[in-house]
Symmetry: C2
Subunit: 297 residues, 2 copies
């Protein structure tokens, strides 16, 4: 929703993303104005049940109270889970009680430990793993991974051998098929390989650190903060952020397919410089933009 960092500018507001994956929606971070950008984008979120907060700096969570409050006004009844450092609940609970009295749905908290690399969410189709980052406060990124899918059933084979629908789940799980006249058709003839599981990683905010790439090997798309350009390398180090070049280094070391950079400082007047510096290291880089939808697979 927003591609900026702490200080808003004419074109950048604090960040938030909605990841649509496996027919679900996951919000990642929720800076101020997120619900406004959602409205401006006419974004519908019927399948948003989980919000992941990387760390407790304002530009990553000040939009949460407004969003949760509005979801209540819209009559939401399904619970929502906030995955965040435990202090998020300490800070947010009293506000929810005061400002959202009589809310129609439950806000749950899953306390995560940002310094651990572990699975923090799992459902039937995907998992989310925390990625410890190096920042001024406890902070982690998130790796969203589809689970291995079943192979595809070949439609031409269903017709050719008159396979009943009830047999298809078994064949997808690996069974062969016996025809009415007793011929055994091997599974390998009946299926095509499953679509490889999609993997998306979100890394903001962080200083460059070597270990990160080892957790990101081969992800399809990496979003990585690129708060500064090389011109501000010293400030970047002091504030424990990354330059566009450092984001690209991580992308290259991890061998990801695509890199999206964002979280630009208000000091960056021309984001093409960020893009250029990243592309010198990792060609398939694109810029995050305010209220933009990216189709990743």
């Amino acid at each position: 929703m927003g591609a900026g960092s702490a200080k808003p500018t004419k074109t950048l507001s604090p960040g938030s993303q909605v990841l649509q994956m496996c027919d679900k929606q996951f919000m990642i971070d929720c800076g101020e104005g997120t619900q406004i950008n959602i409205a401006r984008m006419s974004l519908r979120m019927p399948r948003l049940d989980n919000i992941f907060i990387s760390h407790l700096h304002g530009d990553h969570c000040f939009g949460l109270l407004g969003l949760l409050s509005t979801l209540g006004m819209l009559g939401r009844t399904r619970s929502i889970t906030i995955h965040a450092h435990k202090d998020m609940e300490t800070m947010l609970r009293p506000l929810l009680e005061y400002f959202c009295e009589g809310m129609t749905y439950e806000v749950k908290f899953n306390h995560i430990n940002p310094s651990r690399h572990e699975m923090i969410y799992e459902d039937r189709t995907l998992t989310v793993t925390s990625l410890p980052l190096k920042h001024k406060v406890p902070c982690c990124g998130f790796l969203f991974e589809e689970k291995q899918r079943l192979p595809h059933m070949r439609k031409d084979m269903i017709q050719a051998y008159d396979i009943p629908l009830t047999e298809i789940p078994k064949i997808k799980e690996g069974a062969d098929f016996m025809t009415a006249d007793g011929r055994l058709i091997p599974n390998s003839s009946l299926t095509t390989p499953a679509t490889p599981p999609f993997r998306y990683a979100y890394c903001s905010d962080t200083a460059y650190h070597k270990r990160l790439a080892s957790w990101l090997q081969g992800v399809d798309c990496l979003y990585h903060e690129a708060t500064f350009t090389e011109e501000f390398a010293s400030r970047c180090k002091d504030t424990m952020h990354s330059t566009a070049r450092q984001a690209a280094m991580t992308a290259k070391e991890a061998g990801v397919s695509k890199l999206i950079i964002g979280h630009f400082s208000s000091r960056i007047t021309d984001r093409n410089t960020s893009l250029q510096e990243a592309k010198e290291v990792f060609e398939n880089t694109i810029l995050a933009e305010e209220r933009k939808t990216f189709v990743l697979s």
Copy 2:
């Protein structure tokens, strides 16, 4: 900054105003996204030292934490005073301590009692008075009044009688002037009447109530909420808001010069209906708009 109410839409975000008066700036309410709109408008606020919060509903105060946090990041050193119901401090203090550690300036609170009609701020040039409103939680409007100014010194008289600069303050206070050759020039020949004090009133959120107009007699500009049109009169009553027509009734009864209506519900698809309904009662009505500057005098 924003002209909407609780639920943001494609064109409306929650409200906030910056009133520039007597060379000072006063913020009134601070909904989510206020600091983003400030950045989008390239609004500079070197003379903002006071923020007035009408009531503790999210669309009137959820932008406060982000704004105060960003002012700190910009290195502000002068203190800022929040004039609000005491619960504002109870809610905000822990957040400021957690999210804005080591802030470079002090946030002060002036606890106001929204159910009382009294002066809550005074400086050399103006006063602010609370206006009790009828809403679901304690809520008040604000009347900003310039103090009576001194008469203008006539420049042609300074030349004609060779009046020394040191005499001018006395003449403005009402003294006559004695020329070098002993002639007494009466004060009435030396001055022209002072510019009448400007008065601005802000009333949001409130159900229509007769008494309000008595406090607003002859104000130059009244901003009044007009959440609904007549079509939603029943919902308007339930939620303790005003229709555009009711806002105009108050303006008419108070004999104000100009009415600005805002705080439009997301249900209002055509704000021209609001304008039309208000104008039928009070002709000099205009619509509040997102990120718009109004020159009032």
